[in-house]
Amino acid sequence: MNPKFAEFLAGCRDEAPLQLGVMPFGMLYGIGALAAGLPAWIAQLASAVVFAGAAQLVIVQMLAAGAGALPIGLTAGLLNLRHMLYSVSMAEHLRHLPRRWRLLLAYLLTDEAYAVAILRYRATPPPEGAGAGSPDLRHWYFLGCGFTLWLTWQLSTAAGLLFGASVPAGWDIDFAVPLTFIALLTLLMRERAGQAAALVAALAALALATLPYKLGLVAAILLGLFAGVWATRLGRERGR
């Protein structure tokens, strides 16, 4: 087999088990998007253009709550900020690649693709010197990871859209989106700093509920961030 293709397939294979966790989120997003009044083609397009699960669920939830474009944009912009951390971590491994490769792999840089691909980069050293031994093909592995996740995300979005269209409105199926947030929140709150951020953000969201366009949500998230950072710093000082 072509070694590039073998590397690509290895990436697909190692990414595959994570798809079980990704599929329900894609379906939920599709179901929630329809319930929020998003036309199906726009919901599917967003899965290709935005390609970030948590942000897409948040966009849907905020649209359903009647939020304006500015608060939705700001919240999604904040939520996706973490991709810059992945970008900096990947940069040294991708620096030698031509621009078209870097553009493609940047587009495919999601939580789950990063998590699998970075392990490959850390586990196998790059080939020594130019022309020595075998060439560095690990970007094909990364492409396999990214492509697998991309395909799952598009297909599960489509499945959610198909399923959502057949569910009667009285079933409150859109409530599954905040339930997802509760599940993720509970996992994140096992850390003390996460607790402070979540508690302050929740209380502030209620206190600032009267602000127009749901801008209170953005303010609440920012207050939660400061509380989280402050709690972390406090915990570190106490630990000293």
Partner: protein, 107 residues
């Protein structure tokens, strides 16, 4: 929101998200990010999810409504307990939806 506004919003979010991903790989030569950005990123998800959940459960039409007979907050509480015990997202959604149907018929 109009169709045009929605498309523009999604395009803007898509572009910004791509720029985050491409920033360090393709745009800047800088190899590190400030420590405060790392610290901030850890809290963005819990803060966002908490604010959205609180708002979904207790804000209706721009007003805070704390009603004891509303089924959704109670269903959310059941879901939170299941999430706490199992750490399983699907079980949490299942329990929350089941509780919602139950409480809607009780209240």
């Amino acid at each position: 929101m109009s169709l045009e506004a929605m498309l523009a919003l999604l395009a803007a979010i898509g572009i910004v998200t791509f720029l985050y991903r491409y920033a360090m790989i393709g745009l800047f030569a800088k190899r590190s990010l400030p420590a405060w950005l790392h610290a901030l990123c850890r809290h963005i998800a819990p803060a966002s999810f908490a604010a959205l959940t609180a708002s979904e459960l207790f804000v209706h039409g721009g007003e805070v409504v704390l009603a004891l007979a509303a089924p959704k907050p109670w269903a959310a509480l059941v879901a939170a307990l299941v999430a706490w015990r199992t750490g399983n997202v699907l079980a949490t959604i299942g329990a929350g939806m089941a509780a919602l149907y139950l409480f809607k018929n009780l209240f």
